[in-house]
Amino acid sequence: MEETNRQVPVTVLTGFLGAGKTTLLNRILTEQHGKKYAVIVNEFGEQGIDNDLVVDADEEVFEMNNGCICCTVRGDLIRILSGLMKRADKLDAIIVETTGLADPAPVAQTFFVDQDVANKTKLDAIVTVADAVHLSSQIEDHHEAEEQIAFGDVILLNKIDLVKDENIEVVTKRIRKINPFAKIIKTTKCGTPLKEILNLDAFSLKRILEVEPDFLESDHDHEHDDDVTSLSFVSDTPLDMEKFQNWFGKLLQTKGQDIMRTKGILNFKDENDRYVFQGVHMLMDASPMGKWPENKKRSSRLVFIGRNLDTMNLKEGFEACKSE
């Protein structure tokens, strides 16, 4: 007889100043959709939203005293989400805007770390609004712009009406190089149906199986070390579970700061089930997700997004996990 309330999905909305976050928030609050959405905005964010369901927040990041250097969380979010959960009217979704220059990781980590937040809400997806005109130069100049692309589940490539077709191709390629699994939606004035960005369940393991990312075979040019890149690996040879756990656990423990996101589907020797995992920095969620489909080839696929990936001997580490 425990409380069996539905968890309210929370969408994290990020993107550089001027990319169009406020345009999108205004649409979410004013469109006739028959849903109740609360929006948590930052006082230093862009102006122009006034609504009862808008909550002002200070972005307060603090470290948990649990010895994990990656466990920075948003204290203000814990406070505001627990307040919103006491409302009489049940919310259909909550949207958290992060300022243009903030790293979205502490927001995501809040949903893994705080038990009350985890019981009543769930992280739905990270949506990044990118300015098609300026993204390329922003990525060059600001590592935050690159990180926001890296963390996104969905990237709204906005203002495409102001860019030539061939340049859209260039920007799209640049995004893909950083983040191969995000869904890219090209928009003008953030004009996309809200169902494309809300209630996606992007952090559920089941969803990873439904929307398989482009697990690109590794073609990886040499980047200068500071770049955020992605690397992916595929293998038809079954993996040894113990070897994999040892390697991967140690990897996240020692390199978790640089590894921003991971996702994967694993084929272990002598196991009938598919194993699915996804992580943000050092925090990881993993579980067996049922048997391999009969008509499908059993193969392991995993993707890393982060910095300095080429210094981690990922290929060698992964190869060494093979059972033969």
Partner: protein, 344 residues
């Protein structure tokens, strides 16, 4: 797989439930305070309900949104809401606005002897009872809790990184001292004798300072966040939520350091979520995550009685009238029990 509901034990209603008034409001109860022999309860839809024995409860529409915090100021109720309003409400339903912060929430309120205080974000506002305009006390991070000491001379403000204690000096100027401990501090309280200060933290732990020498120590071992705690009697115990037992730390003599707490167990292995002292007795009401509420004597764990059986929703408020005759219980789904304690 289907679940056969009949396989769960059908608990009989307690005698308190049989003789009391039960309501299903359907909106979370966020707080409750006793005002004389009445109880004022705040709700997630901004209403206040006032319960008095022998009459039907009164409902007041006070806030537009959630009532986040509540305190008493003499015969008045103070409330803060997510609509940005800080209100002073009399028992007969007169509502006065103390201030409003627009879209900023009023997170905490407290009062002592007519002096009012509230916090919104990183700022504490203090209204001297003789003055119209508040004094602002600024902090570097958002405030997690407020508490006066028993005499109202010191105001403790918990925040990220520790606690700030504010006090007026002889020339009536505000002076602050800081107690530092890394991490996020939430609820804060002085011990009734003023010798200790306790905070509950974002981690599953309590932090305590002995104020005479600022010696600090942790009270740990909890399975979840400690959301509720209370000093019992004249500083004999600190009773706490956050575990499947009510954990009671001894604060007599040299304090709890190096001593074991008393653990009061309850049937069902559910987390204790709310603690309310039984006034003037070494006894507590403990509310659990499944809605059940027990009354226990701290020094006699066999002397525990069930006040309310489970509802399925976390207990979020318990308050007893000043004459110790009636008890109010509320949970996160607005299930209420308002009953007399004593057999007629």
């Amino acid at each position: 797989m289907t679940t056969d509901l009949n396989q769960f034990p059908q608990l009989d209603k307690t005698k308190f439930e049989q003789r009391g008034i039960k309501l299903e409001i359907g909106v979370p109860v966020t707080s409750a305070v006793s005002i004389g022999n009445n109880i004022a309860a705040g709700f997630g839809d901004g209403t206040i309900r006032i319960f008095s024995s022998g009459e039907k409860h009164k409902t007041l529409k006070a806030h537009k949104g959630v009532i986040l915090c509540m305190a008493k100021d003499g015969d008045n109720i103070l409330t803060g809401g997510d609509d940005g309003y800080f209100l002073k409400i009399s028992l007969n339903g007169e509502i006065n606005e103390v201030t409003n912060f627009g879209s900023r929430w009023v997170d905490h309120v407290a009062a002592h002897n007519g002096n009012l205080v509230c916090s919104s974000g990183k700022v504490v506002y203090y209204w001297d009872k003789n003055k119209k305009e508040p004094k602002s006390l600024n902090h570097d991070s958002t405030i997690g809790g407020l508490a006066f000491d028993a005499k109202g001379r010191r105001l403790a403000v918990s925040r990220y990184g520790g606690v700030t204690i504010w006090k007026k000096d002889y020339s009536n100027k505000w002076k602050s001292t800081k107690l530092d401990w890394k991490g996020s501090h939430n609820k804060v309280s002085f011990s009734p004798d003023g010798k200790y200060l306790v905070t509950s933290m974002q981690e599953n732990v309590l932090r305590c300072w002995r104020l005479k020498d600022k010696l600090d120590f942790a009270m740990s071992g909890y399975g979840s966040k400690v959301k509720s705690f209370a000093f019992i009697g004249d500083t004999s115990y600190l009773a706490t939520s956050g575990a499947i037992d009510a954990i009671c730390w001894p604060f007599d003599g040299e304090g709890p350091m190096g001593r074991k707490p008393i653990c009061l167990p309850y049937i069902g292995n559910k987390q204790v979520t709310f603690i309310e002292p039984f006034p003037d007795e070494k006894a507590i009401f403990a509310g659990l995550s499944d809605g059940s509420v027990f009354l226990s004597q701290i020094e006699n764990e066999n002397n525990t009685i069930m006040i309310r059986s489970f509802t399925g929703f976390e207990v979020s408020a318990i308050a007893m009238t000043d004459n110790k005759s009636s008890i109010f219980i509320g949970d996160m789904n607005g299930n209420i029990l308002w009953t007399s304690i004593w057999d007629k």
